[in-house]
Symmetry: C2
Subunit: 123 residues, 2 copies
DNA sequence: ATAAAGGCTAAACTTAACTTCAGGTCAACA
DNA sequence: TGTTGACCTGAAGTTAAGTTTAGCCTTTAT
């Protein structure tokens, strides 16, 4: 099954302009076109895009995602490097989660103050 | 106790340029200066900055932080609004954490594949 | 008294990640 | 056959959040 850019945009909830941008930036090296130049996304393209979104949403820069992709394209010899890259990003995500929960604590503390009658000091 | 911009930068681990930028953007309305115009940060300024960093690190735009600050300055009548704003941001943080843990799962799944001998397919 | 270290400003520059625009092509259907 | 809707490109514009630069002033230590 193949999908038009519009269908992919709806499926992944991304703007069409972003899909074109990712392609332009070389993040979709396997993406095929019709003779007349229209993009046709395969299931594999979509899986790859899902991974791109996952990495992007968790703060990996497109440059790095591209580097990862290039490792994938190079073949099985890069397995260790790819693993290393994902491990690093995993550590990054864990530290993000950590920061979020510390911030959450701070905010809960503020909110608790707001709930005590009359405690509305500055900050 | 009062602090110079350099001391604050070290304490909060922020570049001096960022501290000046925050001030320039109106995020430090209570910040005092010496006669000759040098910033002197009070303990309160530092607490406020810590909150700013907490909100900023968790994805709140400076514009919104500023809006929150202005509510704080307006006084106790804005208690409900401030509470509402923090509650919303709390919900945002929770959804962030959610996304991070879903992404973590995906990455763990990829990593598990890398650990199985010979499974180094594309993507 | 003077030099070094630290402070100040306004304005320009940077970066990532998109989005918008202008102008053109393609495909399907009434 | 023509018009409508979806697609294309290259180039320019946008936005947030800073950073850098240039030129100048102040404070402190020698």
């Amino acid at each position: 099954m193949e999908y038009s850019i519009k269908q992919v945009a709806e499926k992944l909830n991304l703007p069409i302009s972003t899909l074109r941008y990712y392609d332009r930036e070389g993040l979709m090296p396997l993406l095929k076109r019709t003779e007349s130049g229209i993009r046709k996304y395969s299931e594999t393209d979509i899986s790859w895009l899902e991974l791109v979104c996952c990495l992007r949403n968790t703060g990996m820069p497109l440059e790095e995602i591209k580097a990862f992709m290039e490792l994938c394209l190079t073949g099985s010899s890069t397995g260790e490097q790819r693993k290393e890259l994902l491990e690093q990003h995993k550590a990054f995500i864990l530290s993000q989660m950590n920061m979020l929960s510390r911030s959450l604590e701070m905010i809960n503390y503020k909110l608790a103050n707001y709930n005590e009658i009359g405690i509305f000091h500055i900050i």
